[in-house]
C-alpha cells in the first residue's frame, strides 16, 4: 500500500468542474507541492495550483481529509478544478511527476476502501453498481447495497441458521444427557419458514435488470411499421450510453430511460417464417433468439402470429388501408405519434412491476447464485431425517452466507469484483 494514487473522479471532461482524487501517504505533500501552503482538515479552501516550475495551472477548491476516517481509509485529497480537458491534463501531469504518485488502476480507490476495512463486500458491490447507475431506479437499488442494509440482512440470516444449527448440534453432542432429547417440534417449521423467506428473496427482480433495462422487442413482418415505432419510442427519450458487449448487431438496440425507468428497445429483422434464403434464415434465427430474451414483445404482424404473451399492436392508424386487429391492445400511428404516449405509459407501468422496487435491495447474479445455494441447502435440511446430515446442510447454508458478505473471501472473487470499477471511483 505504499503508492499514492490519483485519478479524475468526476465524469469525462469537458465539464464545469473536474474532481481529481489523491489517496495515500503522499496525498498531503502532493497538495503542498501543488499549492505551497497548508490545509485544515475537512475545510474547503481555494488555492492556486502550480507545476514544479511554479507556473500556475488552475484555481481549485481543495478538500483535505486525513486518514484513516476517509472514504479509502487513507489520507485523501480532492482537487475541484475547472473541468476543461487541458486543465485537468496539466494537473494530472504535475501529479504524475511527483515521486510515489501514480495514476489509479480500475477500481483501486474502492479496493483500498475495502482493503482498509471501510466497506464490506456487499457494500463494495453496491458501490460499484451505484457508480454505474444511470437512472433513479438503479441508484436507489445500489444505495441499498452500498448502505449495508443487505449485509445486515445476511447477518440476520446467518444468526438464524446458527440458532437452528445449535439445536441440531445439541441433539448430536449432548444426546446422552437426559436434558437434551430430540429436536423441538418447532425446528422443522422454523426451517421451512426460513427456506420460504429466502425463496421470496430469490423471486425478487434482479439487479442486472436495472443495468440492462426492461427489454422490449418489436417484432412483425417487414413493413409492418416496426422501425417507425422503434424511432418513435426512443427518439425523444434520454439515451443510456452503456452498451452491452458481445450482442450481435443484426438487430438494432437502444437503451433509454422513460420516466426514469431503464428500457432496452430492440428492433428485429423482419420475421418471415417461410423464408428459404439461408442468409435471411440466419437473421430470422437471431430475431427468434431476441424474442426469447425479451421481457415483452410488441407484435406488429398478423393477429395471433406473434409469440405467446406478446402485446398485439396495430401501428398504422394513419394508413389509408388501415384494418385494426380485433383484440389490439394498442392502436396507434407510429408516424404521427398518435397513441404512442399511451403505449409508453403502459410500458412504464409494466416495467416498474418487473424491475426492483425503489428502496428494495436487489441481488446481482453472484449474490443470487450464492443465496440459491443457501436456499437449496436449507431445503435439503428440511427433508433430512439424519441429524448429522441435517447439520451438514445447515453448515453449507452458513458457508454460503459467509461468502455473500465476504467472510470466506477468495482472491479470484475479489479480482473479478474490482475489475468492474472504472478508474477513479
Amino acid at each position: 500500500m505504499s503508492d499514492t494514487i490519483f485519478a479524475i473522479s468526476s465524469g469525462a471532461p469537458p465539464a464545469a468542474i473536474g474532481v481529481i482524487r489523491v489517496s495515500g501517504v503522499e496525498a498531503y505533500s502532493a497538495l503542498r507541492s501543488l499549492t505551497g501552503r497548508e490545509f485544515k482538515p475537512r475545510r474547503a479552501s481555494l488555492a492556486t495550483l502550480c507545476d514544479a516550475k511554479g507556473l500556475p495551472l488552475d484555481e481549485a477548491l481543495i478538500l483535505w481529509f486525513p486518514g484513516p476516517k476517509t472514504a479509502t481509509g487513507e489520507d485523501l485529497a480532492e482537487l475541484h478544478c475547472h473541468g476543461g480537458r487541458a486543465v485537468l491534463q496539466a494537473v494530472f501531469q504535475a501529479l504524475a511527476a511527483m515521486p510515489g504518485l501514480r495514476p489509479a488502476e480500475a477500481g483501486e480507490f474502492t479496493r483500498r476502501a475495502f482493503a482498509n476495512g471501510r466497506i464490506d463486500l456487499a457494500e463494495a458491490e453496491g458501490l460499484s453498481d451505484l457508480l454505474s447507475a444511470e437512472t433513479e431506479l438503479q441508484r436507489a437499488a445500489a444505495m441499498q447495497m452500498a448502505g449495508g442494509s443487505f449485509s445486515r440482512q445476511v447477518e440476520t440470516w446467518r444468526s438464524t441458521v446458527l440458532r437452528l444449527s445449535a439445536q441440531v448440534e445439541a441433539a448430536l453432542d449432548f444426546s446422552d444427557e437426559d436434558d437434551v432429547s430430540d429436536l423441538p417440534e418447532q425446528f422443522k417449521q422454523d426451517l421451512a419458514d426460513f427456506t420460504r423467506e429466502l425463496e421470496g428473496w430469490l423471486l425478487r427482480p434482479r439487479a442486472e435488470k436495472l443495468g440492462e433495462g426492461f427489454r422490449v422487442v418489436l417484432a412483425g413482418p417487414p413493413n409492418s411499421g416496426k422501425s417507425t415505432l422503434f424511432n418513435a419510442l426512443v427518439e425523444s427519450e434520454a439515451a443510456i450510453t452503456s452498451e452491452i458487449a458481445g450482442t450481435t448487431r443484426d438487430v438494432i438496440e437502444r437503451n433509454v430511460a422513460i420516466s426514469n425507468v431503464p428500457f432496452s428497445f430492440v428492433d428485429t429483422a423482419g420475421l418471415r417464417l417461410d423464408s428459404e434464403d439461408t442468409i435471411e434464415r440466419m437473421g430470422i434465427d437471431r430475431a427468434q433468439g431476441e424474442l426469447a430474451k425479451a421481457d415483452l414483445v410488441l407484435w406488429l404482424g398478423q393477429e395471433g402470429g406473434g409469440p405467446a404473451n406478446a402485446w398485439e399492436i396495430s401501428a398504422r392508424m394513419d394508413a389509408s388501408d388501415y384494418m385494426p386487429k380485433g383484440e389490439a391492445r394498442f392502436e396507434l400511428s407510429a408516424r404521427t405519434g398518435e397513441g404512442v404516449s399511451a403505449l409508453k405509459h403502459a410500458l412504464v407501468e409494466l416495467a416498474r412491476q418487473a424491475l426492483p422496487k425503489p428502496g428494495e435491495a436487489a441481488l446481482n447474479a453472484r449474490q443470487h447464485a450464492v443465496l440459491s445455494e443457501a436456499k437449496q441447502a436449507l431445503g435439503r435440511a428440511t427433508k433430512e431425517a439424519d441429524f448429522l446430515l441435517c447439520a451438514e446442510e445447515l453448515r453449507q447454508a452458513r458457508a454460503a452466507f459467509d461468502r455473500l458478505i465476504g467472510r470466506a473471501t477468495t482472491e479470484d472473487m475479489l479480482d473479478a469484483l474490482f475489475g468492474r470499477f472504472c478508474i477513479g471511483k
Binding site: D176, D179, T409
Partner: protein
C-alpha cells in the same frame, strides 16, 4: 523418531493413574483416542487393556458422530501404561519434582529437580495436569495438591507466573467414591456393556476382560434440598474458587443452582475395576462438605445405605492462556518450551493425550531434522483442537465436541487410521507392528475398491426384497449405498467376496460411499481453505501496521497470532472487512519480504 527423552514425575508408579472418571473416550473424545492411536500413541491400547465396559455413544445417529467409550479398570489401565512406557526405547524414567526450567539466551536449556539434579535438554514439554499450583477444596477444607494424597508443583508454578506468561486458574472436580457393596443394585436399572466386538485401538485384536454393567440412578428433591441448604458452604459459591469450571461437566451444586426447575439429574454408577469395590457415581462431581455429600448420596434410589469411601473435591490449578502457544504447542515467548494437557486449559485424558502427542512429535521432529505430520482441520480432530486453543483461547476447560469440527463427515472415529497412520509412517512415529498392519490394510483397500464398482440392477435388488424402485436401472455398489436403508450387508449376496478379514475397512469404505455427495460439495470450500492456509502470517507479521485494522482487531489478532490467513478468519470477532485488509497487506508483505 530417534529422539532421546526423559520422563520426569513425582512418582513413577503413578504414571497411568486415572485422576477422575475411570473412562476413556466419549462423544468427540472417542475421536481423539482413535486419532492418537492411529499415530501409535498409547491411550487406545491401554484403554482396551483396562476395558470392562464398552459403549458406542450416539449409535442411533450417523456414524460420524458415534463416540466410542470404555470404562477401564484403573489397575489394568495403569499396568498397561506402565508396561508400554517402561518398554519404550530411548526413554528414561526419572523420579522427582520438576522444580524449575533452566533458560539460556531466552531459550529453554534444561530442567532442575527439587533435589538439585539438573538435566540439559533443548526441549522441555510441561504436562502438569492439575498439579501446577494445584489446590484442593472440599467444603471449608483446603489442601495443597493436584490429586487427593499427592503433591503439587508450587515452585514451577511460581517460576511460570513470574515469567510474565499469561497464566490463569481453572477448576475441575470429582465425585465421592462409593463402596459398591453398600449399593442396592437390584433396585436400579442396569446398563450392560454393548455386545459388539469393536475396540478402542486398531491394534487390539479382541476384547480381553470380563465385561461389567453399570447402573443408573437419579438425584432426588431430597438430595437437592440438602445441596441448596448448604450452597454457601461450597467453595464454588462461597467465593473461595472463582476459576471457571467446565460447562459440559458441571458440579452437582452448579446444576442445582442453574437448573433449579429440574426434579432430578441422571447419575451413572460405574464400577472402577474388577478387583475393587469402588464405584464412581458419574454426574455428581462436588466440592460440598463431606456431611452434605453423604446426605445427597443417601437420598438417591439404591443408595440409601451407601458408604462414601473417598469424598469428592474440587481442584483449582494454573494454566497458560493457550493463545500464547504456537501450533506446535510451543510457548512463543520461551522457545524450546512446549505445554500439553490441562496446563493449556483443556479437560484431561483424551485432549491431554492428543496434545502430548503433538508437542512430542514436533519437539522430536525439530531436534532430529524431520517433519511432524501435517494435520489440519480437514484431516483431524487433533488439529481442530489445537487450532481452537491457540486461536480462540479458553474461558473454561476445553472439551472436544463433534460440533467443533466443520469437516465432521470426513473425520469419523472409525476412519482415523486411514486419515492419519500413513502421515505417521512418513513422519517416522509409527512402530513396526502397526506399520505392517496398515500396509496390509491398504492392499485390501484396493481389492475392496473393485467391489464398490460392481454394477447391480435395481430389479435384482427389488426382487430380493430391498426397498428400491424396480426401474432404478443399473448402478455401482457405491451409489446404491447412498439410498436410505441400504447397507453393505444387504448387498453381500451379489458381491461374492469374503469381507470378514477386513470388515471394518469395508464398513468404512461403505460410509465413504454414502457420504460421497456431501464430501464432494465440500471440495470448493476445502480448496479455499487450503489456499488461505497457504498465505502465511509469520511470527513477526506486524498486525499493527495493517492499514485500516481497528485497534480492537489488532488486539484480537496480536494476542491470537494466527499463523495463516485462514486461521485469522477463525479468530473470534474478526470481521470480513478486517480479513480482506489482512489479505491484501499479507500478500504485499510476502512479496516484499
Amino acid at each position: 523418531m530417534g529422539a532421546r527423552a526423559g520422563l520426569v514425575s513425582f512418582d513413577l508408579n503413578a504414571i497411568g493413574a486415572m485422576s477422575c472418571n475411570p473412562a476413556i473416550g466419549g462423544l468427540g473424545k472417542g475421536h481423539l483416542v482413535r486419532e492418537v492411536d492411529a499415530l501409535d500413541g498409547v491411550i487406545g491400547r491401554a484403554a482396551d487393556a483396562g476395558a470392562i465396559h464398552y459403549r458406542m455413544l450416539n449409535r442411533s445417529k450417523g456414524s460420524a458422530v458415534w463416540g466410542p467409550r470404555v470404562q477401564a479398570d484403573r489397575v489394568l489401565f495403569k499396568a498397561e501404561v506402565q508396561r508400554i512406557v517402561r518398554g519404550q526405547a530411548n526413554l528414561s524414567l526419572i523420579q522427582g519434582e520438576a522444580a524449575a526450567l533452566t533458560l539460556s539466551g531466552g531459550r529453554v536449556s534444561g530442567l532442575e529437580l527439587a533435589d538439585g539434579t539438573t538435566f540439559e535438554a533443548p526441549r522441555v514439554i510441561l504436562c502438569t495436569g492439575t498439579f501446577l499450583g494445584g489446590t484442593l477444596f472440599r467444603g471449608e477444607e483446603r489442601f495443597e495438591g493436584g490429586r487427593i494424597g499427592e503433591n503439587s508443583a508450587q515452585r514451577l508454578a511460581q517460576q511460570l507466573r513470574s515469567a510474565d506468561l499469561p497464566m490463569a486458574r481453572l477448576k475441575t472436580g470429582t465425585p465421592p467414591r462409593i463402596d459398591g457393596r453398600t449399593i442396592d443394585w437390584t433396585a436400579l436399572p442396569e446398563q450392560a456393556s454393548d455386545d459388539e466386538s469393536w475396540t478402542m485401538s486398531a491394534m487390539t485384536k479382541a476384547r480381553v476382560n470380563p465385561q461389567v454393567f453399570c447402573a443408573i440412578t437419579r438425584t432426588t428433591e431430597v438430595s437437592h434440598e440438602a445441596i441448596r441448604a448448604n450452597l454457601h458452604r461450597s467453595p464454588l459459591f462461597s467465593g473461595a474458587i472463582d476459576a471457571a469450571g467446565p460447562r459440559y461437566c458441571p458440579s452437582i451444586e452448579d446444576k442445582i443452582h442453574r437448573f433449579g426447575d429440574r426434579d432430578g439429574h441422571q447419575v451413572f454408577l460405574e464400577p472402577e475395576g474388577l478387583t475393587t469395590h469402588l464405584v464412581y457415581p458419574n454426574g455428581i462431581s462436588t466440592s460440598l462438605p463431606v456431611d452434605v455429600q453423604h446426605d445427597m448420596v443417601r437420598a438417591m434410589p439404591g443408595l440409601a445405605k451407601a458408604e462414601i469411601v473417598e469424598p469428592g473435591y474440587a481442584v483449582e490449578y494454573d494454566h497458560i492462556d493457550p493463545r500464547a502457544l504456537t501450533p506446535d504447542l510451543q510457548v512463543r515467548a520461551i522457545p524450546g518450551l512446549h505445554c500439553a494437557g490441562q496446563i493449556n486449559g483443556t479437560t484431561g485424558y483424551e485432549e491431554a493425550a492428543a496434545q502430548g502427542l503433538i508437542a512430542g512429535l514436533h519437539a522430536a521432529a525439530d531436534e532430529t531434522g524431520k517433519s511432524a505430520p501435517a494435520l489440519d482441520r480437514a484431516n483431524s480432530y487433533i488439529a481442530v483442537m489445537i487450532d481452537d486453543l491457540t486461536l480462540q483461547g479458553v474461558s473454561e476447560p476445553y472439551r472436544m465436541l463433534t460440533s467443533r469440527a466443520e469437516y465432521r463427515l470426513r473425520l469419523r472415529a472409525n476412519n482415523a487410521s486411514t486419515r492419519l497412520t500413513g502421515l505417521g509412517i512418513e513422519a517416522g512415529c509409527i512402530g513396526d507392528d502397526r506399520k505392517t498392519w496398515f500396509e496390509s490394510r491398504e492392499e485390501a483397500r484396493e481389492d475392496l475398491q473393485a467391489m464398490f464398482e460392481i454394477k447391480l440392477h435395481a430389479k435384482a435388488l427389488a426382487d430380493a426384497g430391498l426397498n428400491v424402485r424396480r426401474d432404478g436401472g443399473e448402478k455401482p455398489v457405491a451409489e446404491w449405498l447412498r439410498h436410505d436403508g441400504i447397507e453393505l450387508d444387504d448387498l453381500a449376496p451379489w458381491l461374492d467376496r469374503d469381507m470378514s478379514e477386513h470388515a471394518e475397512l469395508a464398513e468404512e469404505m461403505a460410509e465413504d460411499a454414502a457420504y460421497a455427495p456431501y464430501l464432494a460439495r465440500q471440495e470448493a470450500e476445502l480448496r479455499d481453505l487450503r489456499a488461505s492456509e497457504g498465505l502465511r502470517l509469520p511470527a513477526d507479521f506486524p498486525f499493527n501496521e495493517v492499514p485500516g485494522l481497528s485497534s480492537e482487531m489488532i488486539e484480537r489478532l496480536s494476542s491470537a497470532r494466527p499463523p495463516t490467513l485462514a486461521a485469522a478468519g477463525r479468530v473470534p470477532g474478526v470481521t470480513p472487512a478486517a480479513l480482506s485488509a489482512l489479505l491484501v497487506y499479507a500478500r504485499r508483505w510476502q512479496t516484499a519480504a
